[in-house]
Assembly symmetry: C2
Homo-oligomer: 700 residues x 2
Amino acid sequence: MDRLFWIGLVGAAVALLFAWLQSNRVRAFSEGNDTMKKIAAAIRQGANAYLKHQYATVSKVFFVVFLILLALARFHMLDNWFIPFAFLTGGIYSALAGFVGMKIATSANARTAQAASESLNKGLNVAFSSGAVMGFTVVGLGLLDISVWFHILKYVAHYDAAKIAQTMVMFGMGASFMALFARVGGGIFTKAADVGADLVGKVEAGIPEDDPRNPATIADNVGDNVGDVAGMGADLYESYVGSILATFALGVAAYPGSSWEAMLLPIALAVVGILCSIFGSFLIRTKEGASQRELLGTLRKGTYTAAVLAAVIAAPLTYFILGSWGVYIAILCGLIGGCAIGYFTEYYTSDTYKPTQGLADSTETGAATTIIGGLSLGMLSTIAPILIVGAAVIISFLAAGGSLTTSAENYTELFSKGLYGIGIAAVGMLSTLGITLATDAYGPVADNAGGIAEMSGLGDEVRERTDALDSLGNTTAATGKGFAIGSAALTALALLVSYVDIVKAKMDYAPDLSLTNPAVLVGLFIGAMLTFVFAALTMSAVQRAAQSIVVEVRRQFREIAGIMEGTTDPDYASCVGLCTKGALREMVKPSLLAIIVPIFTGLILSVEGVVGLLGGVSVSGFAVAVFMSNAGGAWDNAKKYIESGHHGGKGSEQHKAAVIGDTVGDPFKDTSGPSLNILIKLVSTVSIVFSGLIVNFHLL
Amino acid sequence: MDRLFWIGLVGAAVALLFAWLQSNRVRAFSEGNDTMKKIAAAIRQGANAYLKHQYATVSKVFFVVFLILLALARFHMLDNWFIPFAFLTGGIYSALAGFVGMKIATSANARTAQAASESLNKGLNVAFSSGAVMGFTVVGLGLLDISVWFHILKYVAHYDAAKIAQTMVMFGMGASFMALFARVGGGIFTKAADVGADLVGKVEAGIPEDDPRNPATIADNVGDNVGDVAGMGADLYESYVGSILATFALGVAAYPGSSWEAMLLPIALAVVGILCSIFGSFLIRTKEGASQRELLGTLRKGTYTAAVLAAVIAAPLTYFILGSWGVYIAILCGLIGGCAIGYFTEYYTSDTYKPTQGLADSTETGAATTIIGGLSLGMLSTIAPILIVGAAVIISFLAAGGSLTTSAENYTELFSKGLYGIGIAAVGMLSTLGITLATDAYGPVADNAGGIAEMSGLGDEVRERTDALDSLGNTTAATGKGFAIGSAALTALALLVSYVDIVKAKMDYAPDLSLTNPAVLVGLFIGAMLTFVFAALTMSAVQRAAQSIVVEVRRQFREIAGIMEGTTDPDYASCVGLCTKGALREMVKPSLLAIIVPIFTGLILSVEGVVGLLGGVSVSGFAVAVFMSNAGGAWDNAKKYIESGHHGGKGSEQHKAAVIGDTVGDPFKDTSGPSLNILIKLVSTVSIVFSGLIVNFHLL
């Protein structure tokens, strides 16, 4: 079946074509009146400026790493000369996906507000379509990158299946790097602006959210785009590409006799997922005056239909390609697991359920109990995702043919088959990413639309509609975060096991990777430490960057006459500039740490230590990411719940306590938590690429 | 050398004798005036009542588990009939140590206050002597329990070395169980009382700390004794016994030819540690008007001298017993590691260093930044302890003869020797526990003395002296916590590797314990989850228990006339009763969880899953324990730093923010953090005892 891989190119083309059509659809709408156009232009300009600076900084890092990779290739510590170039394309494609998504999001925000002034359904459609542009661009470019390289290696370099797989698993690092900077930088930008705007505008000056008199309000809206759109896109781009490439490597190890087939399956699955996602996205429409439940229902109808459809088609497909029902069960595990994690994330963070309502209760006794309540809630919320991922791992491993009994005759062979199951489960979870990401990237657009409606003084009816769309966006954002973390964990495990496959082939002895090996144990400890240090650095980075915004906003209120009266515009651009500078300055330290620690661990503790590190980061990183994201989400929604009239409502002591919780939660849920998703994948991809160096270093 | 084990009995006798002498020395002092006697009696009564209730509850659990163990023995799923009885003695000895420590602490508090009214040196001496009673009772009873069982197994049951070691490693579970309940229950009691007293007394009614008008003030003082004395004692009792027993097991595996020698070394080391600790404790004295630095210096002189002396004597001792300088280096790793962790704990939590001062700075921008600052500080503070433990593990493994290169000819044999190094490093770290624990248990006594001085209206000069002693106690308490966590981690690793030795002997196939095994991976995830859930449950338990105190104190202020005027005594006993009830009610859920999860993981995922679980709990538990303890300690000291006149001092907005941080930090540092120490050891001891059940279950 080695001639069927063109379907990847076709699938990529279909996804990109669909994204282009959706983009045209969005652009056909009007941007509204002059005020709206002006605001939208300011946001667009700020987002463009940030991305430009970010890409400039990142390209320097890429250039340095590119040279290092060339040097490694020269000294035969890389498998071949393709890797440095694939590193570049991975980064460029990921950046391109982020850029396109951000571009459409910043041109859809005013259009969504304008469309919402006509009807709720039109507003939903514009926002969702712009989300779809992002979603399908990510999957389209991801599949394109993989397919193009595949064809180059197969038809230009004439590699066989095993060599293609082992080479291509090294190609994920470019996307990892890009994702790291996008998530960390974007996360710092968005929260610095948000916290800065709130602390001075809402708390000190007492003006409402999104008020045009607040100098940081444009920066806040820019932040939604660079953090929640571009950052989230790069994160899932990496998971998407990483899971497919890891499954390639696991496939050739598991099916030496039918490697092409084992490699074709993830590609075919991705193509099926794209088609099902397109189908699902046609189902998303709503009627006037729809309730939150109905709005959420229509998005769910779209995503669940796509997932069910993909599950149905995957059955004959898997059987046709690999002749194995067990592998099909593994795919199902991924699809179901993804939905289940999303559901539980919603349960823990939405104010329609008990946990967040209980958190709102704890504001009755002050800020301290609110903090303790949120921290406990976040920690408890790790149960469901961990049990779900755990069950998905075990079931997909066993179903795909793996055995846990070492006494089985062909244990090693069966074991490889099982590991392929884990990889394909990750691919299954991510197969309908097109539509999942669309519902997710929809959120910030709706959020921006609400801001623009407020700032340009559109009528109450329009505000009501944009509020409804925004509120829906908050829910999908939470669910999306859960999905992003779950898929990152599964992808990280797939990368971990493929790392072991790769190094074993390079080494002249079989490494002892058992947990009793002190090098593995110490690696585990370092992994946990890296997680905590990375979380701490990103958290405090937000604090420092926000501080500069606070100072600047206070200065403007003091020095620029007429801001509070609304007669003079504040200097929006300076806040955007400060956020940009702050984010770029602060993203370097944690990012470099994430890159350096796996290399140093390898140099000191060799392969065994690296395996421990990967395990430690995956496990601690997953738990801490879930804890931080869910605690942050719950604080946010507990505050909104109080604002909607419970526990004394806005301005009460309880509300003040809730605001403190929300402020702590901001970097939790939008900076540190999501950045950990990247960390757990990045340490694997870095370790994979530098495995040649590590093995050679220790052979010296 | 199998006839030299009597030195263990001698060492135990010397330790207990020294404890008795110190106890007499304390009792020779006067308890002061009638008010002081009355207050001391109330505290004593409350602490006794709590311990009585706690032991009553715990004995029920012990009885049920005892029956289960008997049943397991009956169906040949336990190695022998001794285990159920050793389970009981372990629990009883640990409880006894806690009881003695608490008893002396509650009779030394008023005496310390009275002695301080004579001179600072006398006050220090009484408080330290009472700490020494606790310290030496713990090591004395621990060594006695081990030595008595050793002689029974050797001379009554006529076991050989291997069988003694493999049997006795199962004997740690009783101490683990007792420690769990003591730490969790005591931790909940002490913080419920503290938070309850502060929230209503200090914040609402505006009366100072330890004011006799506060109905919860006696409960607060009782809490110091049951949490910080009895709880801490049981924790370290478990580490002490656990590390020696694990080293027994590792010793017979590593030195099949000289098993008696390998087992004698940890015993001899413990005896040497006791003698050196006694010597060190004679060095502790101070002069009038000594500064904090000088006071800390004298305690340091005692502990460091004991450690250096032990290091010197250990050299010929190790060479004489085992003929190995490498094993001696392992012991040094433990001794140095323990001191280093203590130092870094102080660095991160004392207000004389930058981190805590920086945290105080972050109160300038409100409660939210104070919380984020403390959380970041706690997370960053994991670096040093993890690198220290990591280095200690690797160096002691390699020094003791271990090899990380699987291609080495006699890899397995060398590997066992290396693991013995890890075990002996843990024993080394704990060898001078007598004096380390003395400086640690000194803290709550000084704290109580300060409270009694305040409540009985002793003069300013006396308050100044007790304040100095109290402040010193806070520092040693923080250092002690760091030491407790570090030794728990090393003990847990030693238990983990001995668990693997034990199950391998029971199984009819070699389990695949490598990190790529999905069962191991999922076990790791469950371990991380258990850590977070356990931390969340203990944290929220404090919150619920404190709530009932708040309600009660408010009621008393409202209903009992004359409290605020000082004409009527409040009802102290009802607060003590509520704390007792709350602690006993709340300790059950997290404790059962800690016991059940390892068994269920074993039943579902077999031995491989359990090994993953142990790794996951050790790693995550260690990181989270350090994070929580240090964050809590830093918040506490940042508040005190502000109270001493920085950042606006008492009553300022900054102070309010610091109080919120401190209130969040209370359950962090005194309940959840220390309870995690127990968790990481308990899952190992439970898994070891139930290994027969797990292996047999999966053989069915």
